[in-house]
């Protein structure tokens, strides 16, 4: 089985570029150029330099001693929360901004859910002195206020998406509409492994640094360059794609993707796309998505804005359908419980998104000798309001 994208932009049955003609030229331009640009020595040198000096990579692979004792196994945390701006998102925005610069684009647009990608985009735009416009759902603007303030301080304009569910899906629609209206000047900096080809592949490549570092760090810590399990949360799927990337062909590694069950998959308040979704088209990609029988995309729910998305990247749809990936879910409540637990055990306040990955420890089976890597995709500063509010319920 092949888990990399093919020439037509597909992962098995999923992917492609289902976009109106208005975007054909831009995507084609990107498709024709991205590999050549990002594989060049000159690009790689600048990319790696910035990841090291500006982002603070490599991020530690931390052996979580007390967490491991609690579950009687070996848990390592890949500390993406320690990146500059607080999440894995910046690995991708550094890569794409360097690409945009080489394509002579002066205006950058992006969508954001939790605001982490928006902040990471606004950050690299400040760094490169480029105009930055961030689309964000009206509801997310309210629930992720600190990130909205950060984006503004960084010089970005935050435009509310007021259509539909007023969350990430709608922010993405608005960003695509902006791109259709400004195709020549503008670069669309997508924040996850979603959207039309070549975005899913490009974003996965930029995030693949996560598993590349893991391999070297695991050798040092365990004598083997692979763990038994890698666990990551999945919104669109970029941190999971990065954490899985160099292990996809190594069948000895179990790849565990954790989706947001919201209030539970038996309710209609969920974002567990692979569990309740069906095949279709969302944001230019053929993938699994939450929709009704008439093909209307339904409104997801998750306590975590970054997972509140009714689709999933085509790579993950392929990992799911082929059986290579194990897809499980964690509810709002389970994620919160996991967040409070790791805070007390390890002194790490995780992002709500990452808390879903941590919650997997309650749901999967493992032995005491196994090595488990959990990708801690981000830190919890942005979620303090929710954590404080929910603390009384614990």
């Amino acid at each position: 089985m092949n888990y990399k994208v093919n020439d037509q932009g597909f992962y098995g049955d999923f992917g492609g570029a289902f976009i109106p003609e208005m975007l054909y030229h831009n995507l084609n331009e990107l498709k024709e150029n991205y590999l050549q640009i990002i594989e060049s020595d000159e690009f790689q040198k600048e990319f790696k330099g910035l990841l090291k000096e500006y982002v603070g990579r490599p991020t530690p692979l931390y052996f979580a001693k007390r967490l491991s004792e609690k579950y009687n196994t070996n848990v390592f945390l890949k500390r993406e929360d320690l990146n500059h701006t607080g999440a894995h998102k910046i690995n991708n925005t550094i890569g794409q901004i360097l690409l945009a610069k080489r394509m002579n684009k002066k205006r950058i647009i992006a969508e954001t859910g939790a605001g982490q990608h928006g902040v990471a985009t606004a950050t690299v735009c400040a760094l490169m002195n480029l105009e930055c416009i961030i689309y964000m759902g009206e509801i997310d603007i309210k629930r992720q206020a600190p990130n909205v303030a950060r984006m503004k301080m960084l010089g970005a304009e935050v435009r509310p998406a007021t259509s539909g569910s007023k969350t990430l899906k709608d922010a993405t629609n608005e960003a695509i509409r902006d791109w259709i209206s400004n195709p020549e000047t503008t670069y669309y900096l997508i924040g996850s492994v979603v959207g039309p080809h070549p975005y899913p592949d490009m974003v996965a490549r930029f995030q693949s640094i996560i598993s590349k570092e893991m391999k070297a760090q695991l050798i040092e810590k365990t004598g083997r360059d692979y763990p038994d399990k890698v666990i990551a949360c999945v919104g669109g799927g970029s941190n999971a794609a990065g954490a899985f990337y160099h292990y996809m062909d190594n069948e000895k590694v179990e790849l565990i993707a954790v989706e947001a069950d919201g209030l539970g998959i038996e309710t209609d308040k969920t974002a567990a796309t692979t569990q309740v979704g069906t095949e279709g088209i969302i944001h230019g990609s053929k993938t699994l998505l939450m929709q009704n029988s008439e093909g209307q995309i339904t409104e997801p729910h998750s306590i975590s804005a970054g997972l509140d998305y009714p689709g999933v990247g085509p790579l993950h749809a392929h990992l799911f359908k082929s059986g290579r990936g194990t897809f499980i879910g964690a509810t709002d409540k389970e994620a919160l419980t996991a967040a409070y637990q790791i805070t007390k055990l390890e002194g790490i306040i995780p992002a709500l998104e990452s808390s879903h990955a941590l919650a997997a420890l309650e749901k999967i089976e493992f032995s005491s000798t196994e090595n488990i890597v959990i990708n801690l995709s981000g830190r919890g500063d942005k979620d303090m309001e929710t954590y404080i509010k929910e603390m009384d319920n614990e």
């Binding site: 109106p20 208005m22 259709i180 020549e184 088209i281 093909g295 995309i297």
Partner: protein, 255 residues
């Protein structure tokens, strides 16, 4: 000869009007199309409301949301078209997004459309190569037309390719825009229209996006076989108390 072909053969300055099915009220579709035809509109494009219409501006987004809330769906749109066909003979196109077609079942969708009297389709996010590989044969064998968009960024080579694989007409997107963007037609756009006319294409052309009134319609007609009005018409229906009257008044101001 198909209805669309006949229309281009017999008429000049073709006015194609877009409406959202099930808007403003669930049952208005039939009456609106009848009135459009009665008032001299040459062709209609019935929008199949979609939750996430990527190429559409706020006017069509809002009308789509209202129509979905009104309970419209593909099956009901087919019923409405069947009823329209009892009295209306102008070409009817269905316009919508690929996901809806996929969920209905593409082959079934094309067959059903044919059986109720649809003449062609505009599915902006259906890629040309997928169409060619999976549906072209089916659509052609049913005698239906698949209309594709071209934009100011589409290269000559690609315009020729699109022209060769599509039928009915070419939908010439007038500028870099989503639907509902309104402004006068600029000289640069006119140069673009002239450029298209010099390529030598097999299909006739209709200009769309930003065509909103008599002035823009007349200008478009100087450079193509006609034009498409969408958002401006939908806007006129907003809050209308008398649909017949509203349609008549709107079309009178354009023609």
């Amino acid at each position: 000869m198909s209805r669309i072909e006949l229309t281009f053969k017999n008429k000049k300055n073709i006015l194609n009007v877009y409406l959202t099915a099930g808007y403003p009220n669930f049952n208005d579709t039939v009456e609106i199309v009848k009135e459009l035809a009665k008032n001299g509109v040459d062709m209609v494009e019935i929008g199949m409301p979609f939750s996430d219409p990527l190429a559409d501006g706020p006017t069509i987004q809002n009308s789509s949301q209202t129509a979905i809330k009104n309970g419209i769906n593909l099956e009901l749109i087919f019923n409405q078209i069947e009823e329209i066909r009892n009295t209306v003979d102008i070409p009817i196109l269905l316009m919508g997004y690929y996901n809806q077609v996929l969920q209905y079942g593409a082959d079934l969708f094309f067959e059903k459309a044919k059986s109720v009297g649809v003449d062609g389709f505009i599915i902006p996010d259906l890629p040309l190569d997928i169409y060619q590989k999976e549906y072209l044969q089916k659509v052609e064998s049913l005698g239906l037309d698949m209309i594709f968009l071209i934009t100011p960024q589409t290269t000559n080579e690609r315009i020729k390719l699109i022209d060769s694989k599509s039928s009915g007409f070419l939908y010439v997107v007038s500028s870099f825009a989503i639907t509902g963007s309104k402004s006068d037609i600029q000289q640069s756009q006119i140069d673009y229209f002239k450029h298209i006319n010099n390529i030598g294409l097999k299909n006739p052309k209709l200009i769309g996006f930003g065509i909103s009134d008599k002035k823009t319609f007349d200008t478009a007609c100087q450079h193509a076989e006609g034009a498409i009005i969408g958002s401006a018409f939908i806007k006129s229906l907003e809050g209308s108390k008398n649909i017949k009257q509203t349609v008549k008044e709107f079309i009178t101001t354009v023609l």
